[in-house]
């Protein structure tokens, strides 16, 4: 049952992605975009059903191994896509967010499930992972928003409008999307890190402070804190903020994927 739910969710995501690409290529945004949104909505509902079903079946939230984590991350990215679509109606977002969802889902298929280590059977893991995955999803939206901002700014400054100029929304809208997701992502990351610290203090052996993933996460958190601070005090917006957020997202990627290979407490089989 869970396999069926998962595969059909994956199928609908792919369908949504294909229609988003078709909307961009053919410029028939209305028709293809509607089909894409309906497909992604159905995919999202099935994906949510899959997560609930797995949670009931395994009697814990499916966020404990890499396979489950990727599937959950895909769900958070698609949740972020929905929130941003409902609030801002920025059509190009789908073209950037859906490929990630698809790749994450595809990755899930090829990774084998592993048994849950004893140490991860704490309730803190839910707070820790859910908050951090939500933060990562939101930071990804922030990253895409800054990318689109740079594209649009380049088009505007170039004075020779090409496809992107007509396709992308206004700078202020992108900036607003950027800021809202930045703040929300930062809040979730802070909560996730706090949950992790409390959990580590309670259950883990000492020396978790020097774990590579913990340090990488703190660096990421610092970069985003700096970005928010500079925005609030020095009014850093636009290009500079976009570039910093890109550095921040590279740091997120390293924290999520790279730090795994440096060993430490977060490297589970």
């Amino acid at each position: 049952m869970s396999v069926l739910l998962f595969n059909s969710a994956f199928g609908f995501y792919v369908l949504g992605l294909l229609h988003s690409v078709a909307a961009f290529v053919t410029k028939k945004t209305n028709l293809f975009q509607k089909i894409a949104m309906v497909s992604v909505s159905v995919g999202f509902v099935l994906h949510t059903a899959f997560l609930i079903y797995s949670a009931v079946e395994k009697s814990h939230l499916p966020v404990t191994d890499l396979r489950e984590a990727l599937a959950f991350f895909a769900w958070t990215v698609s949740l972020c896509f929905f929130i941003s679509h409902l609030r801002y109606r920025i059509q190009p977002l789908g073209l950037f967010l859906l490929p990630l969802v698809t790749v994450l889902m595809l990755g899930t298929i090829f990774i084998k499930s592993s048994p849950v280590p004893e140490i991860l059977s704490s309730s803190w893991i839910y707070w820790h992972t859910i908050c951090l995955f939500l933060a990562y999803g939101m930071f990804f939206v922030t990253f895409i928003a800054s990318l689109l901002y740079l594209f649009q700014e380049r088009e505007l400054k170039g004075k020779k409008p090409k496809t992107f100029y007509y396709w992308l929304p206004s700078l202020v809208l992108l900036d607003d999307l950027f800021y809202k997701f930045l703040i929300s992502g930062f809040c979730f990351m802070t909560l996730g890190l706090l949950a992790g610290v409390i959990w580590a203090e309670q259950d883990w052996v000492g020396g978790w402070q020097s774990d590579p993933k913990v340090i990488a996460a703190l660096v990421t958190w610092g970069i985003y804190l700096l970005l928010i601070y500079l925005r609030l005090t020095a009014g850093w917006r636009g290009k500079r903020a976009a570039l910093i957020s890109m550095v921040g997202f590279l740091s997120v990627l390293f924290t999520f994927l790279g730090a795994r290979y440096l060993g430490g407490l977060h490297s589970f089989p």
Binding site: E153, L156, K157, P169, S170, L171
Partner: protein
């Protein structure tokens, strides 16, 4: 006996160069006289707009000599040293010159192709040249023919089908930067023809309130009642705090607004979400000259999370302030 056209436009020269060799409206007459005298030309006409400066010359010398003497005139008139302009200037000879002036008058060479203003600007240049006595039989034959061609292009093609102007493109650009303009308040600096067009386009896109400022109140009063029933302050005489878009359509030889005046942050009441400002970057040479803002409008949006205040620099004509600018006044003959 040869006809040449020497000039530069928005495709060959950046705005900083264009504004340096632009001819101010009031000085065109004397410039034409001086061109004729210094360059030993039979006939001459200067087309100076925000996007181009072109000199059409007809003389007894050889083509190359005429081109060189026109270039020499540009250098001496604007007190520049050669070869500053060499990279930006183009020259057309005989048939090519005729073809080019036809293209310009027909708005095929404009930044916004099909904008109707260029024809009236060429007409204005022709009238000035006639008044200065620098038009002879050759240009008297050629230029009216260019007007005829321009009208024919406009009437028998679809070039004028969509109502385009620099102002409409600028408002469209504002929409691409600031998103929906509905409910926003805008300051319009300059109440000339461009200002009027900008105001109409802004109203069409749903701007709720427009403040128009002008150095002479009368010009603002001429068209405002037609497009907006409310009474506007026709002049910004006191600091005005704005959380709104501002469009700059003023053409002035000196700054009418100072960076410090605009960037003075107010201590209270900053409405972060709505403090937006747009300077027309391409509405002419007027923008860099009429403000001393050496910043792009993107930089503006980065500082606009503070409340800005805007004042007209009443003392813009003081020599001290002129000195601060690198704008050279045309040397009188």
């Amino acid at each position: 006996m040869d006809l040449v056209l020497v000039g530069l436009n928005h495709k060959t020269a950046p705005v900083e160069v264009r504004e340096r060799i632009a001819f101010a409206e009031g000085h065109l007459h004397s410039a034409l006289k001086r061109l004729q005298r210094e360059s030993d030309l039979q006939e001459g006409m200067i087309v100076s707009t925000c996007n181009r400066v072109e000199i059409l010359a007809h003389g007894r010398k050889s083509q190359n000599q005429i081109v060189q003497s026109v270039k020499d005139f540009l250098y001496s008139y604007h007190t520049m040293k050669p070869p500053f302009l060499e990279d930006y200037l183009y020259s057309y000879l005989r048939h090519d010159a005729v073809r080019h002036i036809f293209r310009v008058a027909s708005s095929l060479d404009s930044m916004v192709v099909g904008e109707p203003q260029i024809l009236s600007q060429v007409k204005q240049a022709y009238t000035e040249a006639c008044q200065a006595g620098s038009v002879g039989t050759y240009l008297k034959d050629l230029i009216p023919r260019a007007f005829f061609v321009a009208k024919k292009v406009r009437s028998s093609t679809r070039i004028g089908a969509s109502a385009v102007s620099i102002s409409s493109v600028a408002v469209e650009l504002a929409r691409k930067i600031f998103g929906d303009l509905r409910g926003k308040t805008t300051i319009l600096l300059g109440a000339g023809e461009m200002g009027e067009l900008a105001a109409r386009n802004l109203l069409d896109s749903g701007v709720s309130q427009i403040f128009v400022t002008n150095r002479t109140p009368s010009a603002a009063g001429n068209w405002l009642p037609n497009c907006w029933p409310r009474q506007f302050p026709s002049k910004i005489s006191e600091p005005i705090s704005f959380g709104r878009t501002s469009l700059w359509c003023a053409q002035a030889p000196l700054p009418c607004c100072w960076t410090k005046a605009v960037l003075r942050p107010s201590s209270k009441g900053a409405d972060i979400g709505h403090c937006l400002s747009l300077i027309f970057p391409f509405l002419a040479t007027s923008t860099p000259r009429s403000t001393n803002w050496r910043m792009s409008f993107f930089t503006m949006s980065t500082i606009c999370n503070r409340l800005l205040t805007l004042t007209f620099a009443k003392d813009a004509k003081k020599p001290r302030l002129q000195k601060r600018l690198s704008i050279r006044k045309p040397s009188a003959t």
